[in-house]
């Protein structure tokens, strides 16, 4: 069942950056981009590498291992070697807190 979870403060994530966040044994990436806050699975769909040390460029996350790129807003795989999209999660910001709808 989906639920909105208080994940972190907006100040916890630098601009053009992400943090790793765990909830009920599952790992998420939460991003702060020029278009706002977003959330996705933490692991790259190519070879299960954590995206935590990846680079956020505009609204794109680049995997640190092989350079595969995903659109942060939609999770769409943008360039090889990644082909499978990244699962994204709805996010809302209230009173300086970032909430992620898990499920």
């Amino acid at each position: 069942m989906s639920q909105w979870i208080d994940a972190c403060a907006t100040d916890d994530i630098d601009e053009e950056d992400l943090i790793a966040w765990e909830h009920e044994g599952k790992s998420y990436a939460i991003y702060n981009t020029e278009k706002g806050f977003f959330a996705s699975d933490l692991m790259c769909t190519h070879e299960e590498q954590s995206l935590e040390d990846g680079l956020v460029i505009d609204c794109v996350i680049e995997c640190p291992l092989h350079g595969g790129r995903f659109d942060i807003c939609t999770g769409k795989a943008l360039s090889a070697p990644v082909h499978q999209d990244l699962k994204t999660y709805p996010v809302r910001v209230e009173s300086g807190r970032v909430f992620v709808e898990t499920g």
Partner: protein, 342 residues
């Protein structure tokens, strides 16, 4: 996690805090565009020298100089754009990858994916698809490598395989399947361009020979002397980049030609860091790394001396460069560790 240990900072025990790394790895178009402007300026100057000396003996040193400025940056830029780190704008990165790979003479996506594999399994026998010579290296291998004949032969085979749609097991191992059609298209277009260049003199067009073909041939050994010292004499099959890879000291000219890849250990530790930020990265991790080897000339002379002595069955300990323990012998027969994969 992947089902293997990629060779990088983590596998080498090197640490850098995330904030520092992200600030160093930040992308920008500006340094790459400045580099293009500087490169074209150098090429205009050396090209003018070729033009001014045409028909005299001086045209040969002029073409060598022009060839160095044509070939080494083409290699370096093709490498940097294969990583996707030269520019912030993706389209600019991909356009420069295509053009510089044409000059370097390797299909751009083959360059990208074999190189990605080289980073994931740096200097691992049977896994690294970019081991350009047998190890330990002998004088014959050194000659084949630095003249460029071995590499040219390999790249031509790759072009023909790709153009014909016959993909080798290595290609299939390192390349996402959906990329093959693009690679075949690229290979066909590039082979057509090379054929047009080869045919040009038959139609009275000689400038491509003086400004492109001969300089490219003459410049290749210098390019290959840069790439040779990245891993030669170092440890195969080690998870640590510090054992498999070499950085060396450099002056401004070599740093320009090689796009600061003299910081090669640092590049392998954090391949997401763009060329212009490598000196900053080197400074940030210098306490965790071995000291860089001497400069381009001294390191290459030392390598040449070691491989010659190895072929003559004499002691192989180098005086000034780092070597893996098994590379140092008192002479005698050499047991081959790795066979070239390119």
């Amino acid at each position: 996690m992947p089902g293997y240990v990629p060779t990088n900072a983590a596998s080498s025990g090197v640490k850098l805090d995330k904030k520092t790394l992200k600030s160093i790895a930040a992308r920008s178009d500006r340094p790459g565009l400045i580099y293009i402007a500087q490169w074209l300026t150098f090429l205009a100057a050396t090209g003018t020298l070729v033009w001014a000396t045409l028909g005299t003996l001086w045209m040969w040193p002029a073409m060598l100089l022009h060839g160095i400025f044509l070939t080494v940056p083409a290699y370096s830029f093709s490498h940097e754009t294969a990583h996707g780190t030269a520019f912030r704008s993706r389209w600019l990165n991909e356009a420069v990858l295509w053009v510089t790979s044409l000059l370097y003479m390797e299909e751009p996506l083959h360059r990208r994916y074999t190189h990605t594999n080289h980073h994931t399994h740096t200097w691992w026998v049977g896994k690294d698809s970019q081991m350009p010579f047998d190890t330990p290296m002998g004088f014959g291998g050194w000659l084949a490598e630095i003249t460029g004949t071995a590499l040219l032969r390999f790249h031509m085979q790759v072009f023909l395989h790709l153009a014909a749609g016959r993909y080798t097991s290595t290609m299939k191992m390192v390349t996402p399947e959906r990329e093959f059609s693009k690679m075949t298209r690229n290979a066909r277009i590039m082979l057509l361009i090379y054929a047009l260049i080869a045919a040009a003199p038959f139609f009275g067009i000689w400038w491509v020979v003086w400004f492109l073909v001969i300089p490219r041939i003459l410049g290749a050994p210098v390019m290959l002397l840069f790439t040779l010292i990245q891993h030669v004499e170092l440890q195969e099959n080690s998870p640590s980049i510090l054992e498999s890879t070499r950085s060396f000291r450099s002056n401004w000219l070599a740093e320009f030609l090689y796009m600061k890849m003299n910081n090669h250990v640092e590049h392998h530790l954090y391949p997401q860091v763009p060329f212009h930020a490598l000196p900053k990265l080197a400074e940030a991790v210098q306490d965790q790394l071995p000291a860089p080897d001497p400069g381009f000339f001294k390191t290459n002379l030392e390598v040449m001396s070691v491989v010659l002595r190895r072929s003559l069955g004499r002691p192989t300990k180098a005086a000034t460069i780092r070597q893996a323990p098994h590379m140092i012998t008192e002479g005698g027969p050499v047991e081959r560790i790795a066979q070239r994969t390119m």
